[in-house]
Symmetry: D3
Subunit: 189 residues, 6 copies
């Protein structure tokens, strides 16, 4: 049915899904209670789905000096600047869950500056915000501020790439009117 499409584009999923994809989606349903719509949106072309989820998993789930919560915090702050309904909904829920602090999730969605953050987190989010609003003005002293806050060279790479990634997905979600799964709204309130 057209109305169940996850975006405003008429691009239905491959049917049937290849076995590997079906298994991936089944795992999502088991662990998250749903298949995130961003995956369904890509599933009209399995090569695109694989390339997207490959980068997503590397950035958000692989080992990093940044905790998963920190990466989700970056996701929400970038998405707040870009006012992306999909990503604020999905990653706002993730911040609420991982932090066990519903108010923190709300603050990052609404205005991260009001959140009670430590120096490391504040430096990280300030950098992510500047990358989002005025990347061409980033200078060596911005990177130095991250180093001063205790981040390694790899950590800075990861901050930059997570913030960059959501500047991509925010725009793709808005450009295609991608809608988040309803399940997110009530999670971890």
């Amino acid at each position: 049915m057209t109305e169940s499409l996850p975006t405003a584009l008429n691009l239905p999923m491959v049917d049937p899904l290849p076995e590997t994809t079906q298994k991936y989606f089944d795992v999502c349903r088991d662990k998250l209670g749903m298949v995130p719509n961003v995956l369904k949106a890509h599933a009209f072309d399995i090569a695109k789905l694989d390339a997207f989820s490959g980068l997503y998993n590397e950035l958000m789930l692989a080992d990093s000096g940044l905790s998963k919560l920190e990466r989700e915090m970056i996701a929400v702050v970038v998405s707040s600047v870009n006012r992306c309904f999909y990503c604020l909904t999905a990653h706002g829920a993730a911040v609420r869950q991982l932090s066990d602090d519903p108010k923190l999730g709300e603050m990052l969605v609404m205005n991260w500056r009001v959140a009670d953050l430590n120096h490391r987190q504040r430096a990280m989010l300030y950098f992510a915000e500047k990358m989002t609003k005025a990347s061409s003005e980033i200078a060596e002293y911005d990177r130095e501020a991250l180093r001063d806050a205790g981040f390694t060279e790899r950590d800075i790479w990861d901050i930059a790439n997570v913030a960059g990634f959501f500047n991509m997905t925010n725009r793709v979600a808005s450009a295609t009117d991608m809608r988040p799964n309803d399940e997110y709204h009530a999670q971890a309130r």
Copy 2:
């Protein structure tokens, strides 16, 4: 040597490179006359390199209703809004080469509105620019304008994802002070 690092971050390439990566880089050298610095920049962690180049290749090189030149045009226009030196240099060269029109490359770098484009290209670049500057304001009539210009649902997906991708890489390049290979500057002038 530190000075040969492709970014301001001290993240040297894995040494020696795994065989597959070495082959990939050798192919680049054969075909392009260089290994693009964006690849070297990722090569401190081969999983990150593979995830990045996986998405890049899917978006920029795979089959699409958009020609390779059109995808490079989007890359340059997005990078112009974001004032990304790396991407303007590398993809400006690509536009000059693929179009055989050096002036077109300059125009897209400087101000795409002065370029003599057909309706299809103008609609595509207008959408990419709006995604870059104000993605949260994109509405159904913006997608309709693309359909009216002859783009299919898949084409719109591709426009959105190519424009999104360079909003990621522009920011990563600026955030890490990534420098383009010198070879690009004189190409196809």
Copy 3:
């Protein structure tokens, strides 16, 4: 205790409160389960509290061609542009409650353009947004658009004054670091 102050300014409430004020606060506790912090913040000077709540009540609670929900929708959209944590929290909860639609509240907080609104509501919120972002550019055709959507002269006055009011309170809240009562976060999810 300093930490219970509702803003970053050291301005404790008059103690004891005058009888009328105490009754007003008791009514709040009965009906809302709390005394909203914006009232406590003003209560260091009862004349200021009375003047503020006088205007608030006239705009938000008095008879109007705009429903209470519509006025709360304006409050949230204005507060979203201004990224005011206090007002997004308090009036986001009000939208969720009055509409019985938690997702609507989230949408207005994050990006009102994604909400599924009728023509009347869309015209109203577009006007409130333009007033917030670029009031000096409002012209007769903007008022005509409201008339075309069915609003009377009094309704337009009310839209303008509700939108204006939250442009005041958003700024006062941010300027004083006013914090919303914790009770709002979980309401009507």
Copy 4:
């Protein structure tokens, strides 16, 4: 007559005015030589007029650590950012009168940064300007700058509320095309 209405909305004054309102307007005529159009604009509904003038009088005329001139200076600077013809005209005249310095009034209308102000006034106007342009970015150091310039907690409250108030009235005036009384233009030149 329609042409004598103080705004673009067809909302004529209650006729006859209630006795108290009539007296208030008579006092205005005696003291100011006119009834300010903002009062006439509200007088289609006396409850709205009373609520508005109640807050106005509390903020602009009641006792405060800020002089009346200082409050008018804030009014003009906020109105300059918002380019509000009504408020720049009426409160620009007030600054010229209260300061006995016509050039000061002009400077605040045109670009307050060129005015020869003391440290206290400069800090106050900088804060009011930041509240107007980017209230969500106000932080504790902004309030500290006011304390360092000698302002008390109550003074900071008053600065915030006066600046907030004109962010409301500027927008209401522009949204309704409210016109200032002609008498202001030549006053105190």
Copy 5:
């Protein structure tokens, strides 16, 4: 004396002035009652003064399809966008004088959109404003709008060059803290 310098730069006038310059300044004093400070500011180097006044006179005083009032209106609107105290003061006075309408001068200083203008003037000022705020987005339809309003090719050239000129002088005046002669403030009120 340093305090009589027309800018914040320590660049006193050539002393004595060459005979031609002295005559030019004497004519100014006769006709305007003063030597405009912008001329004194340039007079540290007579070649610069002559080049500047050569272009000024050609644009503002030579024959044109635009009346002198219309050129002054453009000057004020451009200077309002740029918030240039010098040019708003000097050319605001010129609009008041040439139009015999003090309120028109105020409106153009504060917010030209509130002025009661005919179609020709509105088209002209809209174009000048767009040139000032977003010149890179001017397109053929903007020029067509001027032609539709009755402007010739030469007129459009003149609009563009007058608007351009004040984008130069506004910035030079602000960059050097150039101060207008006090005489302007009370003129033609």
Copy 6:
């Protein structure tokens, strides 16, 4: 022929040109290999051409504490903010030629912050950029920063006037769709 006009305005050159103008254009052809289109664009009215080239020559070619390269660098940075195709093309070529460093020209066109500049040049370009983006916010400390970098009062005047000049010509070029001579594109690559 209409298509050879240097702008979108139908304003052909005086024909024949006066002898002095013809000689000036012949010199251009000898020294530059072309008559710059900006001169042809003005040549529909020789008084306008003379006034324009008089100021241009005074600012860009006369003696100054700024080298010709430095003045061209300012031209390119201002034109980059304003995204002026004509001036970026013509003055980008000049920077490449005068510096013998093609990459420097590209960097200034794309994002001057990535260029490897000394303190003097960086201070100069920062000032020119601020003049272009936010001239009304320039304050004494901005001029002090130039003095600290070694610039004299005359040098600061020259920086301000060169930056101002290109804020004029950028806007005139965009407003009239002025096109640069094709010869520039391949120069000094």
